[in-house]
């Protein structure tokens, strides 16, 4: 009868067959071993090692540094002085400022974001597609650019808005002063609103319209349906965005740096920055202890967010696309249209216009015809530091985005598509930076690089920034890639395996080939993130490894607002170009899948 055992195959067959099947078995077995057991285990270990270096190591060094009495790299003793120093009355005010400002910007931002999301997802407002691109644009502009532009627009002495107001009304006092609580909140709102919008709008879109229709069929009015069904269904998305926005507000650095510090308003990030950069002797232990404390504080927020979401991820997108109910607004649709345009004018056109004007006049604030000049363009062109920073930013952007997305792609593959041992740990490690503000991670890496054994000179080089950017970008890259993988059915992969594709061939020819648009979209997102990053860069750069945002800040501190405008415009062009590429890719992906 049938061959009962693989070992018996030879006995029942010809001699030739024995040789063939034995060889077959041997190669197969080796293949199997190489592919699955050892290779996989080594790969997993390498991945864990890399992720630990990016996240656990700076975290541990942060704790060590907060207990270490002297700056990194110097002999000292371990004590609790750092923690003793942070419990002061002025720090209580700092904490109150941080949280208060974060709440103050989150509440109006979320209201605006919900309004915009509703208008663009659920009403027949004209040109919704274009409006959505315009409304979300401020999210992609580096906050440092708008901060500088608003610094010029809302300057109490020579700000354009104040000048126009005085000219219109004949008043002698300036109504607007951006160097205030209001200024900090106002600037934060400009990038937090589109950020929240991007989260909420998908929830509005992903909603099954029959849920609302059945409410109407039960006799509920449109308003009642909105209150009892639509809003309640949106609530998880809105609440989780709210918590996220609060966390981002606490991490925010640019707004309090530009508008808070000149007015004597300090928040935690600027307090850490001050302690290291603006004191006669940098208070490393104090700054590190503060960083560690704020991270513990952020952890509470993360726990809160988990509780709010009952352990679900904060994504509300189900992946299934519905054609949502569109509300007919009649003539009111022009009002909503105008509302969106107004938002775009205030958040983009005004600041960019200011940069444009600022770049062409001899001195910012003195706008006369005979002051028109191109000298700032020439000055920037001849500025060696600018070119070096430009080169560094581009290099770091390309390398950082590629490395971060590759890492994210691998991590997402392991956590989403496999049942390998160790994947939970990898998931947690990759997610850790989520609760580390850029400033805190910067301090952590400062210690981490200084404590590396001798012959590894990372500190002070461009690699220091690269590692920091990778750590900061990894949670987002993992998210983007896991979303992409979730959309691909397992059949597509398994089908390739059955038809002869090895694990690597399947990964390359099927999974990567199918998810590269997501990879590219995430790449651009990470690139944006690197281009705008200031808080970690300002701590980790040194002469020769400056990036654009650092150079901008330096020029601004030196009062060279005109050159800042020129560089800002250039960055704006980059933003628009990459955003355009990204939108192209998103469109293409939707049409092919």
């Amino acid at each position: 009868m049938a061959v009962a055992s693989g070992l018996d195959i030879g006995r029942n067959s010809t001699v030739k067959r024995i040789a063939v099947s034995a060889l077959d078995r041997k190669t197969l077995f080796l293949n199997h071993l190489a592919n699955f057991a050892i290779g996989r285990r080594i790969g997993i270990l390498l991945l864990i090692a890399l992720l630990s270096f990016l996240t656990v190591y700076p975290l541990a060094m942060l704790l060590y540094g907060s207990l270490h009495s002297t700056p990194p790299g110097m002999p000292g003793v371990l004590n609790l002085d750092g923690y003793a120093q942070i419990f002061t009355t002025s720090n209580f005010l700092v904490l109150a400022n941080t949280i208060g400002i974060s709440f103050a910007k989150t509440i109006p931002s979320i209201l605006l974001a919900v309004a915009l999301a509703f208008i663009l997802a659920r009403t027949d407002t004209p040109a919704r597609g274009t409006l959505e691109v315009l409304v979300t644009l401020p999210f992609f502009i580096p906050p440092i650019l708008t901060a500088m532009a608003w610094g010029m627009l809302g300057n109490p002495q020579v700000g354009v808005l104040n000048l126009v107001w005085k000219w219109l009304t004949g008043a002698t006092t300036s109504p607007i002063n951006v160097y205030s609580y209001g200024g900090v909140v106002w600037h934060m709102m400009q990038y937090s609103t589109p950020f929240l919008f991007l989260f909420i709008v998908d929830a509005f879109r992903a909603m099954d319209p029959t849920l609302e229709e059945s409410s109407r069929m039960c006799g509920a009015s449109r308003w009642r349906t909105f209150r009892r069904i639509t809003l309640i269904l949106m609530l998880p998305a809105i609440v989780s965005s709210f918590v996220l926005s609060l966390m981002r507000g606490i991490e925010s650095f640019e707004s309090p740096l530009f508008f808070g510090l000149p007015a004597g308003i300090t928040v935690i990030t600027t307090e850490i920055y001050n302690a290291i950069n603006h004191r006669a002797t940098p208070a490393y232990q104090y700054a590190t202890a503060l960083s560690f404390a704020i991270m513990a504080f952020m952890f509470l927020f993360v726990v809160w967010q988990w509780r709010v979401l009952h352990g679900r991820s904060f994504a509300t997108v189900t992946g299934k696309a519905y054609a949502p109910n569109v509300m007919k607004l009649g003539p009111w649709r022009w009002v909503t249209f105008g509302f969106c345009i107004l938002f775009f004018m205030i958040t983009v056109v005004l600041p960019v216009g200011q940069l444009l004007i600022g770049s062409f006049f001899k001195f910012f604030g003195f706008y006369e015809w005979d002051m028109l000049t191109l000298e700032h363009y020439v000055a920037v062109w001849q500025n060696k530091e600018f070119w070096r920073a430009f080169g560094n930013t581009m290099l770091l952007g390309v390398m950082g985005a590629t490395a971060t997305m590759t890492l994210g792609g691998v991590v997402a593959y392991v956590t989403v598509r496999t049942r390998w041992r160790g994947r939970r740990l990898i998931d947690v490690l990759a997610w850790l930076p989520w609760m580390m503000p850029g400033m805190v991670l910067g301090v952590g890496f400062l210690w981490a690089f200084a404590m590396l054994p001798g012959p590894i000179p990372i500190y002070g080089t461009i690699w220091a920034l690269l590692f920091a950017y990778m750590a900061l970008g990894t949670p987002i890259s993992v998210r983007v890639m896991s979303n992409a993988y979730h959309q691909l059915s397992f059949d597509l992969e398994e089908c390739s395996r059955v038809h002869g594709g090895s694990w690597w061939q399947t990964l390359w020819r099927i999974l990567i080939a199918l998810s590269w648009p997501s990879f590219a979209v995430g790449w651009v997102l990470t690139f944006f993130g690197i281009m705008r990053e200031l808080s970690a860069s300002i701590l980790l750069y040194s002469v020769g490894s400056e990036v654009l945002s650092v150079v901008l800040l330096k020029l601004w501190s030196n009062g060279q607002a005109e050159q800042v405008s020129v560089i800002g415009l250039l960055m704006m062009l980059l933003v628009i170009f990459f955003r355009w590429v990204q939108l192209k890719l998103i469109k293409q992906r939707i049409s092919t899948l």
Binding site: V3, I9, R497, V498, H499, Q505, L514, T592
Partner: protein, 371 residues
């Protein structure tokens, strides 16, 4: 020499036993279908043959080559098993054209350009998709995707073709057509096929042999006719349609042919004759299976099994009507020609010829038999 040999194969997920000591042997060129309700382990069995799932016990061989032996810790990954597979979702890769999809198994095996082109054209001609070679895959209808999936699975002449509910995503008309076409193709090429479905009609129409599975075990293996007319247990009998299962006692037993015995039986207020696959002693209880289409409505005939009763309900189904007759407390399902025009409340006579009744042991509900 079986093309596929499955010996005592089990699959455990934690505490759940999805497949429990399954034995199966498939001959070369044979079309075997795994049939059962969802969750019966049929797809897991198929995936273990494919190598997409690792068996926790037992041994699987394909074309005389052991591909998985749980005890020896030996496992050949799917890409080294030389199989073709058609997935329920078709798994047509959306970033490739029809040609690229079908050429994939050949490209992976580094065949020459000329050979790839020739073999892909040939197999596309076979499934009548030649004209669509340069189409992007997402621009195909469900039926066309099906054909492409079959072409891709056949292109490198696999040892065995595996099919996981390939017709379930098609509408009813297309399903029958594609099923018949595929069966014709399979017979012509003589390709060994292992097919998974939950649709009984599909299983009977396509297969050489049907394997009925439930709760991870095989209930019965046999030709479609055998499974349908001569089930080994109540569970198999009940799996097809809505049969009448009547309690009765044996009054006599005689050998009819080698494997067949003729029984005299008596039930509550009725007597009759039927066949069985094993001998029964006098007075033994049996369960008599009567398919609804084997119950005839008409004048009280001379058939040994007969009832008279009143029509309780009637459902018109186009070619036929489904009737429930209340015969002295016994509710009988009857499939009658629609032309009969029977109405609810009518008094009718029912009779069943001995060939239309099959006796099984009542307690054999869960025991398994195999060839």
């Amino acid at each position: 020499m079986p093309a596929v040999l499955v010996e005592d194969v089990s699959r455990q997920f934690g505490d759940v036993v999805a497949v429990d000591s399954v034995n199966l042997s498939i001959e070369r060129g044979e079309f075997v279908t795994l049939l059962g309700p969802s969750g019966c382990g049929k797809t897991t069995t198929l995936r273990m043959v494919a190598g997409l799932e690792q068996n926790t016990a037992g041994r699987i061989s394909i074309a005389d080559r052991v591909v998985s032996d749980a005890d020896a810790g030996f496992f050949v990954p799917p890409d080294h098993r030389r199989l073709g597979m058609v997935f329920q979702s078709y798994a047509i890769w959306p970033h490739m054209t029809v040609f690229d999809n079908v050429a994939y198994p050949l490209r992976i095996r580094r065949r020459s350009k000329a050979e790839i082109s020739e073999r892909v054209r040939a197999v596309l001609r076979l499934v009548e998709m030649e004209a669509f070679a340069d189409r992007p895959a997402p621009a195909l209808s469900g039926g066309q995707q099906q054909r492409v999936a079959i072409a891709r699975a056949l292109v490198f002449e696999p040892e065995v073709l595996l099919l996981d509910e390939p017709l379930s995503n098609l509408d009813a008309r297309l399903r029958t057509q594609m099923g018949d076409e595929f069966r014709a193709l399979q017979k012509r090429l003589g390709i060994t096929s292992l097919y998974v479905t939950h649709d009984q009609e599909e299983a009977m129409a396509l297969s050489d042999r049907v394997v009925v599975m439930q709760s991870g075990r095989i209930l019965q293996v046999g030709a479609p006719e055998e499974i349908y007319q001569r089930p080994a247990s109540r569970a198999v009998a009940a799996f097809f349609g809505s049969p009448n299962l009547l309690d009765a006692k044996v009054t006599g037993c005689e050998q009819h042919t080698d494997q067949k015995f003729k029984l005299g039986i008596t039930g509550k207020n009725w007597t009759g004759e039927c066949f069985a696959g094993e001998p029964f002693g006098e007075g033994e209880p049996v369960l008599v299976l009567v398919r609804p289409e084997n119950v005839h409505i008409g004048a009280s005939g001379k058939a040994p099994m007969a009832w008279s009763g009143r029509i309780k309900s009637s459902i018109f189904r186009g070619p036929r009507q489904s009737i429930v007759v209340d015969a002295a407390g016994l509710a009988l399902n009857v499939e009658a020609p629609a032309l009969l025009g029977a109405n609810v409340g009518d008094q009718v006579h029912l009779n069943v010829p001995p060939a239309g009744a099959w006796a099984i042991r009542p307690d054999r509900a869960s025991s398994a038999t195999s060839r």
